[in-house]
Amino acid sequence: MKTKIMKNVLLASTIPLLSLGSINGFAATELSLWYHGAGNPVEAKIIDQIVGDFNASQSNWKVALQSFPQESYNDSVIAAALAGNLPDILDVDGPVMPNWAWAGYLQPLNINSAAIEDFLPGTKGYWDGQLYSLGLWDAAVAMITRKSTLVEANIRIPTLAQPWTLTEFNAALATLKQTGKYDYPFDPGLAWKGEWFPYAFSPFLQSFGGDIIDRESYQTAEGVLNGDEAIAFGEWWQMLFQKGYSPGNSQDSADRETGLVEGKYAIQWNGNWTALNMLKAFGDDVLFLPAPDFGHGPKIGAASWQFGVSASTSYPQGAADFIQFATQDRYMTAFSDAIGLIPPTKTAAAASEHYRQGAPMATFFELSAQQAVLRPVTPGYVVAAKVFEKALADIADGADVVDTLDNAADEINQDIRRNLGYGH
C-alpha cells in the first residue's frame, strides 16, 4: 500500500517536470517574477491585475508571479543567487540595486530612456551609467503636524519655497516643549530600526552639508561623514535627545504609529504611506511640511522598490517588455490610489486621487520632484547604511559625537578597501 502511494507521488511530481520542457516548444515562454509584497492584499490585487493584463496582451510571454514577505525578501534573493535559481524578473529596493548589479544578480534594463524621461528621478535606478531598475512609485517623507498646533504656538508655517531654517526649527521645538502639552515636540521615529535610519536621517546630514560617503569617488567617507558639517549635524542630533525634544532608541513602536494622533508628539517625521491615516484623523487640519533647511537646502530621501531583470535570465527582452508594460500611468495611478504611494509621472499624478493638483497629498509629489536625493549609489551602501544606523543610534544615546563619526568613517573606508573599491 505504502509503496503504491510513494509511486504515485513520484509519478505526480515528475509529470510537471517532463511537461515543462515540452510546453516551451509551442506556447508562450514562462517568465518568473518575484515580488516583495506578500501579505498585502491590496498590493497583490494590483500586481495580479498587471500580470494578467500583460499575459493577455501578447502571446510570447507568460509571467508567473511569486510573492515573498518583505522581511525575508532580500535573503531569499541572495540565497537564490548563491544557488543559481534567480527568477527572470525581480523587484529590488532602490538603494540595494547597485549592490546586486555589482554582484552580477541584475543586468541592464533595456528600456528606451526617452520613454521614462518624465519619471521622478527617485524611480530610476542607474548604476555605472546604465539603467538597471525602474519603479512604479516613489516615496517621500515630510514633517507631519497640525495647523492648529503651529498656530497656537505662534510658529510660522513653512512652505516649499521657504522652509524652516535650523534656528527657526530649533526655536519651534523649544516653544513646543515649553507648552508642556506634548511628551516630545518632535518624533523622528527611532522605533523604526534598519533602513529607516539612512533613508530618513541621512537627508538631514546632507542638508547640513555632510554625507554618508564621498560621492565624487565613492572611495572614502573621510571628511564627509566626520567633517565639520557632519559634526555639526551630530551635535544637533544629540541635542534633540538630550533636551528631551525627541523620543530615543527605546521608543515604543506603538507610539510611533499613534503618537501624533494621540497628541504625544507635536511634529512627526514620517512618510507619505501614513498620510492617508493622518488625513482621516485630522481632516483639513493636517499639514505635510517640507524638511527644514539646515544650510544646504531642504533634502529628503528618494527611491523605493523597483523592478529589474536578473542577470541569469535567457529572456531579457521579455522581462523588459513586462516592466515597460507595468509602468503605464493607469497602473501607477492604481498603486497610488490604493496605498497612497507617489506616482512617478506628472500625468499619473494628475489622474490620481491623492496627488492631483490641489489634492491633500500633492505636496509629496513636489517634495519628491524638488528635494529628493538618492542614497549613495554604490554597492557599498548596504554596509555603509548599517554603520550609519549604528552611529546615529549611539549618538542619540549620548556617545561622543566626534569619536563616533570618526569610527564610522573608518569602518566604511575599511569595508571599501576590503571590497577593492566596489567596482567604481
Partner: protein, 360 residues
C-alpha cells in the same frame, strides 16, 4: 560462535542503517557548516561579491582580537605647565592622532579606544581593533556568570517546590513550563512591552507600589539597566526547562533514603544537604553545562529587544556574528567570530567537566 558473530555484524549493519538519517542530517547541517566556517574564517569570503575569494590566513582573527595599550601624557602649555580645563581636568591629545597614519605608532594603526582610565596625571587607554566585539565578549561572559548560577538555583528551588504530592500540582508544573514552549521571539516582544520606558507594565507596577515615588525607568534604553533587564527576562524564560531536568533528577532519588533520614531525625536542611544534593550530582553537572552553552548563544532577545544598544551595552558574541555575516555581508568575519565562540564554549565545558568530575 560462528552464529554469534554473524548476528553481531548483522545487528551492527542495521544499527548503522537506523542511525544513518540522524548521522546524515547532523553531518549535513552541523559538521559541514562548521568546517565551512573554519575555512571561511581564513579567507576574505563575502556574502555577495564578484571579487574572487582569497586566503588571508589569520587576518580575520588578528582584526578581531588585537588589543594594545597606549599611555597618554597630558597636553602642556608653552610654558611647560599642564593645560587645565575650566573644571580642573587635564586635556589629552586625541587617540585618533596615534592610531591613524602615525609613522611613530605603526602597531596602533586602525585601532580604536575600548576603555581608558586616569593614572596619576596620565591617561591609560586600552585600544582594540574591534572594540565592539570586545564589548560583546565582556557582555556575554557577564551574562553567563549571572544567568548560569541564578537560573540553575531558581530552577532547583522550583523543582523542590513542585516535587510534592499536592492537589493540582500539575497546574503549577504547566505554568512554570509555559514560557519554555512559547517562542523566544514572542516572549521578547512581550517583555519589550513590560520594560517600556514610559507606560510599561513594570514601570506602572513600581509606580503604584511606591505610591508614585519611583520615577519610570527606561529599562532597555539605559546602558546601566539594559543587560540586567535581558538577564532577568532570560532567566524567567528558560527556568522551567531546567526545572524539569532537576525534577527528573529528584525523582531518581530513592524514597527509602528519605525514609531513613526521617528515622534518623534529620532536619529539612540536613535531608537536602546529605540526601537530595548528593543524589543530584550528575543532574547538576548537566544543568550547569546546558545553561552555560545556552547562555553563550544569547541572540534572539538582543535582536528583538535592543539590537545591541544602548551604547553597545547589550552586544553579544552571536549577535555580532550574525550582524557581521549577514548585515554587513562579511561572511569571513562572522565565521571567525563563530570559531572564537566555539573555542570559548568548548574550553569552558571541558573546565566544568574537569572540576565536576568524580574524584577517585
Amino acid at each position: 560462535m560462528q552464529k554469534n558473530s554473524s548476528s553481531l555484524t548483522q545487528h551492527n549493519r542495521s544499527g548503522w542503517l537506523f542511525a544513518l538519517p540522524g548521522f546524515g542530517l547532523m553531518m549535513l547541517f552541523i559538521v559541514v557548516p562548521f568546517v565551512f566556517a573554519i575555512v571561511f574564517s581564513m579567507t576574505n569570503q563575502r556574502l555577495i561579491s564578484p571579487n574572487p575569494t582569497q586566503f588571508v590566513g589569520f587576518e580575520n582573527y588578528r582584526q578581531l582580537l588585537s588589543v594594545n595599550l597606549l599611555v597618554l601624557d597630558p597636553v602642556s602649555t608653552e610654558t611647560g605647565e599642564l593645560k587645565q580645563n575650566t573644571d580642573g581636568t587635564l586635556t589629552y591629545p586625541r587617540i585618533r592622532t596615534f592610531t591613524r597614519n602615525n609613522p611613530n605608532y605603526p602597531h596602533l594603526q586602525g585601532m580604536k579606544e575600548w576603555f581608558s582610565w586616569q593614572w596619576q596625571d596620565k591617561q591609560v587607554a586600552i585600544l582594540a581593533s574591534d572594540p565592539v566585539f570586545m564589548k560583546a565578549v565582556v557582555n556575554t561572559f557577564l551574562f553567563v556568570m549571572v544567568v548560569a548560577p541564578l537560573q540553575g538555583a531558581f530552577a532547583l528551588a522550583l523543582a523542590l517546590l513542585i516535587n510534592q504530592r499536592l492537589k493540582g500540582i500539575n497546574v503549577y508544573r504547566a505554568i512554570y513550563f509555559m514560557p519554555v514552549v512559547v517562542s523566544i521571539v514572542v516572549v521578547s516582544i512581550l517583555w519589550r512591552f513590560i520594560y517600556d520606558g514610559q507606560n510599561g507594565l513594570l514601570n506602572n507596577l513600581l509606580h503604584s507600589v511606591s505610591f508614585g515615588h519611583l520615577a519610570p525607568v527606561d529599562w532597555l534604553g539605559n546602558p546601566d539597566t539594559a543587560l540586567g533587564s535581558i538577564m532577568a527576562m532570560s532567566i524567567w524564560q528558560a527556568v522551567g526547562f531546567h526545572m524539569v531536568i532537576w525534577l527528573s533528577g529528584l525523582q531518581t532519588i530513592s524514597p527509602t533514603l528519605y525514609e531513613a533520614a526521617k528515622i534518623e531525625g534529620a532536619s529539612g536542611w540536613q535531608t537536602f544537604r546529605y540526601v537530595t544534593w548528593p543524589g543530584l550530582k550528575n543532574t547538576a553537572v548537566l544543568v550547569l553545562i546546558v545553561i552555560t552553552m545556552q547562555a553563550f548563544a544569547l541572540f534572539a532577545q538582543i535582536d528583538v529587544m535592543t539590537n545591541g544598544g544602548p551604547l553597545d551595552s547589550t552586544q553579544t558574541i552571536v549577535f555580532q556574528a550574525v550582524e557581521r555575516g549577514y548585515g554587513k555581508q562579511d561572511i569571513s568575519g562572522g565565521s571567525a567570530i563563530s570559531v572564537v565562540l566555539f573555542v570559548i564554549v568548548l574550553s569552558i565545558s571541558l573546565l566544568q567537566r574537569h572540576f565536576t568530575r568524580e574524584k577517585k
